[in-house]
Amino acid sequence: MSDTTMAPGALPADGVPRRRRRWNASLLVGMVMTGAFLAIALLSLVWTPADPNQVAPRDRLLPAGSAGHLLGTDALGRDVASALMAGAWTSIVVAAGAALIALVLGTISGLAATSNRQYVNETVMRGADILLSMPGVVFALVLAATIGAGVGATIFALSVFFTPSFTRVVRAAALRVLEEDFVTAAALYGRRRLFILARHVVPNIFSVMIVQFTLYFAVGILTEAGLSYLGVGVTRPEVSWGILLKEAQETVGVASPLAIWPGLAIVFAVLGLNILGDGLRDVLDPRLRRRKS
């Protein structure tokens, strides 16, 4: 096969060295944004300007920049900055927790679905298809309202609906690796399937798993906020950005800056994670590389 005679757009063919880039703008921006988000969340565990649940009737609806209240207070006199910080931690616990559970379950089921036994394959994949066609928000709504809202129920609901996507992605990536010659060689050499999966497949699909985790971390933040906004996700005394928005809308109306801050916080965190995910994809897995924009 003569390479140059193919499309000159296929980069490796035109003789241009295709170094694996170690660094790119997306990665940098994403890491800075996500780093800031994580740092603020971690800080909230040891220190917040005030107790985010501390009601202070005399300090109601202070504007941003008031003494001791950087972003002002809400209708009950609670400190907004503290609430936003605490909300960051809730986002991480729920979203990252759900994404992590989905990652583990999805990896197990995705690898199982590469089995040589057709019925195992079919069962897992059709099951994933069915779960994917269930509207997650509606289910979470029913679930949370029946077993009770809260951090645990929200994580459970999210992880159930994230898992099938992980299953599909892991399976597709694993099948690609299983076709590689070195895997065939290992099989011919007499290695057991479990050994091959653990030793050859998982390390090679690790980058895919990381990227998928990052992107679903972001989806989790959005969904958690949505459920909490509906009142079926996280509830006080836990603080969630969704709750803050709901409270702002109900007590003072949308015109208040109180309705702006939580939204901005969500956009910042989600955008950072999505950009980071794109950057990681470019660096870790050249096969998944999206086209240059």
């Binding site: 096969m1 140059t4 499309a7 000159p8 035109d14 241009v16």
Partner: protein, 326 residues
């Protein structure tokens, strides 16, 4: 002298500072068959795509490409499009991916006919059927209604040729038309292409790394290396008495009974090293890093010189020691 259907002058193809084609000139006369040979990375395909004006975004062509009374590098996309497929057409390497998977074969052939000629739907269909018959495709009626995935590789390539021939172009550019096909099918497809081109009197620019194909089908040959033409001339002359060391090396590395030996114990000669990547192409004569004859002079670019055939080399192979052609 018959008229020129293609006159390429000093074609340069580059992407930013990567120069893949470094000043190629070539002429094709009406009805003539010109072969372009060389290894991967020689710039053959980019030359063809540059002529067709189909370079990928980011690549730029400089120089002149004269065809049908215009310089193709200067005209609008609309003006160029009205010539592509009508006066100038192309057959690509990989027939598996070159046909639209969601469109029936018939529609893909009538599409080009109806774009360029004022024929009715029925007439276009009749002509498409004729083309399929000419291309010796089995059950042509059904084939019109088939989708590309239902055809074999060889059949698809014949459809590609039918599309290229549909409007009786002055020139067909075939870029490795048989490389992706099984060896047994290659010959059939080449024979069909050969016959169809001859019958229509259209010129052929054949791009390939397969020297026997050029020997069998072409009148004139250009040998490319490192983005330049290093030798050109009538096929018989160049193959019998190659003057550039690269051409000689290429010809000698073709397996024949002589150099392999009947018992297979012989050693096939080869050119040492490999084609350097584009960004590391040596200055001067690009071949000098692989050439036994290279010396200080080769650091300046040699020009094509000669009478019957022309070679760009400071130390050409003397005509007195002909290398056995094929």
């Amino acid at each position: 002298m018959t008229e020129l259907v293609l006159d390429v002058r000093d074609l340069v193809v580059r992407r930013d500072d990567l120069v893949a084609v470094r000043g190629v000139s070539l002429q094709v006369r009406a009805g003539q068959r010109v072969g372009v040979v060389g290894e991967s990375g020689a710039g053959k395909s980019l030359t063809a795509l540059a002529i067709m004006g189909l370079l990928q975004p980011g690549w730029r062509a400089e120089g002149q490409v004269l065809h049908d009374g215009v310089d193709l590098t200067k005209i609008s996309d609309k003006a160029f499009s009205s010539r592509r497929g009508r006066t100038l057409s192309m057959v690509f390497q990989d027939p598996l991916s070159a046909l639209n998977p969601t469109q029936r074969i018939g529609a893909q052939i009538t599409g080009v006919l109806r774009r360029h000629t004022r024929v009715s739907r029925d007439e276009a269909r009749r002509q498409a059927l004729d083309l399929l018959v000419q291309m010796r495709l089995p059950r042509p009626e059904q084939m019109l209604r088939a989708y590309p995935h239902e055809l074999s590789g060889g059949q698809r390539q014949r459809v590609m040729i039918a599309i290229a021939l549909a409007c009786y172009p002055q020139l067909i550019i075939a870029d490795e038309p048989t490389t992706a096909l099984d060896v047994t099918v290659q010959k059939q497809v080449l024979r069909l292409l050969d016959g169809a081109v001859k019958e229509r009197g259209c010129a052929l620019l054949m791009i390939t790394h397969d020297l026997p194909v050029v020997a069998a089908m072409c009148d004139y040959v250009l040998v490319m290396y490192g983005g330049r033409v290093v030798e050109e001339g009538p096929v018989a002359t160049v193959f019998r008495t190659p003057r550039h060391p690269y051409t000689k090396g290429l010809l000698e590395s073709q397996p024949t009974l002589d150099n392999i030996g009947l018992d297979g114990t012989g050693r096939l000669p080869s050119i040492r090293g490999s084609v350097p990547p584009l960004h590391a192409m040596p200055s001067g004569c690009a071949f000098r890093t692989r050439c036994d004859r290279a010396d200080g002079r080769c650091e300046t670019v040699p020009v094509l010189e000669g009478t019957e055939s022309r070679a760009a080399c400071w130390h050409p192979v003397s005509v007195a020691t002909p290398a056995g052609a094929r």
